[in-house]
């Protein structure tokens, strides 16, 4: 939301705890079931892998611009932020509390998806998180997602993000189900060359997601910008009902009709009327937003 400044402090480079500290009002955060409770994964030992005392997710409550919120932050540096039994259950519990308390939730995504060493428990945890998210939203509670972490937001994590009421992304944020390496491994390098970083950004990066209306707000890779984005996202509509889902159906059908045969992100942007689409990856945030604001497909609160 702001231009890069000398005081810029990268969200991408921060740890989960560091992001929470910068996102929330100073001193307002209280963690639930923190590392001192030693609730780590019971499954990683089987694979001789080290555990982490918080299982790679921090959950708690705090204030955002004076407003009470529940918050969860995934740590992409522990097993790529992957979701296992304990990690997932902490988020499910937080969302169920949010429903009862009618309190908005902020999720700081940083995840490759299901943790394979506990794949069945992780897969099921994601399904439980999705159900808890939707039941919470049905009560008029906002669940907003912040996407700018180093592990991206992949696999089942991207489906959870798709159930949020609003999403905030940075250029570095990547949002997709199958990651580049997964597509390449399964379908070949001709389908997706995972080493082609420019292709990754054009297909699943923050600018593309913002331009096609897959997210609501685009911000700089900066902790203060994410904080401002989160505050703005908390002002967006909270409803989840038949009308919202019918609007989402129409929005996604329109996207496929308009862009479904495009071969590349740049072709999608050209059809949106973005001038010089090939230069979009080079634009700084303010130049990008100037163009994107008038040309992008809106999300129209339809998610």
């Amino acid at each position: 939301m702001t231009s890069p400044s000398p005081t810029r402090h990268s969200w991408y480079e921060e740890s989960a705890r560091g992001r929470l500290a910068h996102l929330l009002d100073p001193g307002s955060f209280t963690e639930f079931l923190g590392p001192e409770r030693r609730e780590f994964s019971p499954h990683l030992g089987l694979f001789n892998l080290p555990h982490q005392l918080d299982d790679g997710i921090i959950v708690g409550n705090g204030k955002l611009d004076g407003r009470p919120v529940l918050a969860a932050a995934q740590e992409g540096r522990f097993m790529g932020g992957a979701i296992g039994e304990v990690h997932g259950a902490k988020l499910t519990g937080l969302l169920r509390a949010a429903r009862q308390m009618k309190r908005d939730v902020v999720i700081l995504f940083d995840t490759g998806g299901v943790r394979l060493q506990e794949a069945n428990a992780g897969e099921l945890a994601i399904s439980e998180i999705i159900r808890a998210t939707l039941e919470t939203r049905a009560e008029g509670v906002r669940v907003i997602g912040l996407l700018g972490g180093r592990a991206g937001c992949y696999g089942g994590g991207s489906l959870i993000a798709g159930c949020c009421s609003a999403l905030v992304i940075s250029e570095q944020g990547r949002l997709s189900v199958s990651g580049p390496e997964v597509i390449e491994t399964n379908k070949g390098v001709e389908e997706f060359d995972s080493r082609d970083r420019a292709l990754v950004w054009r297909t699943m990066g923050g600018k593309h997601r913002y331009l096609i209306g897959g997210v609501d707000l685009f911000v700089d890779d900066d902790v203060a910008a994410f904080r401002a984005g989160a505050v703005a996202a908390l002002e967006r509509p909270a409803a989840l009902n038949q009308a919202v889902l019918a609007a989402e159906q129409a929005r996604l059908e329109r996207r496929l009709a308009r862009f479904g045969d495009a071969a590349d992100g740049a072709e999608v942007w050209a059809r949106l009327g973005v001038p010089h689409p090939a230069t979009v990856p080079d634009l700084d945030t303010s130049a990008f937003l100037t163009i994107a604001t008038s040309k992008r497909e809106g999300a129209d609160a339809a998610r």
Partner: protein, 240 residues
């Protein structure tokens, strides 16, 4: 069981369910009073943006109807389609939208029953079978998050070592028994008995809130999840 046998066992009074492009659509009569809407993915189809959106559109139109007809979702899929185009078009949004449509149908008074009779994996499994209000399976179903050879590649462990580890825990290896033990599946139906009776019994029982972590605890396949979620919930409420 093949879809044709499943449908005739479910709907002895007849059905109009057709398949096109790997998707099932139609309805059947459970008895003279109860009509059941049917959707599905068959033939190990990998759902991409087109399939997910087609399914969601049908499910939302059912959700919008005032009657309380149950919705049966037959599942024999692959994982989500892995392609550049699907991700370019926002597959994560589309699969999430499908999960939301199923949730909406349940909320609008249509029981949503997933019937897993074949494969399903990864994101496709989350957005279809696991997104139904109740999930049942037939023997021979093969749900998986990732197949063991791929898992061996990612974890850098040999297939033999993985198989040995899988014998001691249901927590990571593919297969119906493992998913059942973790609480993903309410019941495994008996193909030797009429499926219509088993569906009627399921519909007669009221569906509670998401109790899957409790089943995981009872069945010994996922023993921490329920307590962890409850403890976080308790702490949040206690803290105000």
């Amino acid at each position: 069981m093949r879809p044709v046998d499943i449908l005739s066992s479910l709907f002895p009074a007849g059905h109009q369910v057709t398949e096109a492009g790997g998707l099932l659509s139609g309805n059947g009569r459970l008895d003279p009073q109860i009509t059941v809407d049917v959707v599905g993915i068959s033939g190990k189809t990998y759902p991409g943006v087109d399939e997910a959106l087609a399914l969601a559109g049908r499910i939302l139109s059912i959700a919008d109807r005032p009657d309380p007809a149950p919705l049966l979702f037959l599942v024999d899929s692959g994982s989500q389609r892995m392609s550049r185009r699907d991700e370019l078009m926002g597959l994560s949004e589309t699969l999430a939208h499908l999960a939301k449509a199923l949730w909406r149908a349940e909320q609008a008074g249509h029981r949503t029953i997933g019937l897993l009779y074949g494969g399903s994996a990864a994101g496709a499994f989350i957005a279809t079978a696991l997104a139904c209000g109740s999930l049942v399976a037939l023997p021979g179903a093969w749900p998986e998050v990732m197949d063991l050879p791929s898992m061996a590649r990612v974890t850098k462990l040999s297939l033999d070592v993985l198989k040995e580890k899988a014998a001691g825990t249901p927590v990571f290896a593919p297969g119906l028994d493992n998913l059942f033990a973790t609480g993903a599946i309410a019941e495994i139906w008996d193909p030797a008995r009429p499926l219509c009776d088993q569906l009627k019994a399921l519909l007669a029982a009221t569906r509670d809130d998401d109790g899957r972590a409790g089943w995981g605890l009872e069945r010994g396949g996922r023993v921490k999840a329920a307590a962890i979620a409850q403890e976080v919930q308790r702490l949040a409420l206690a803290h105000g």
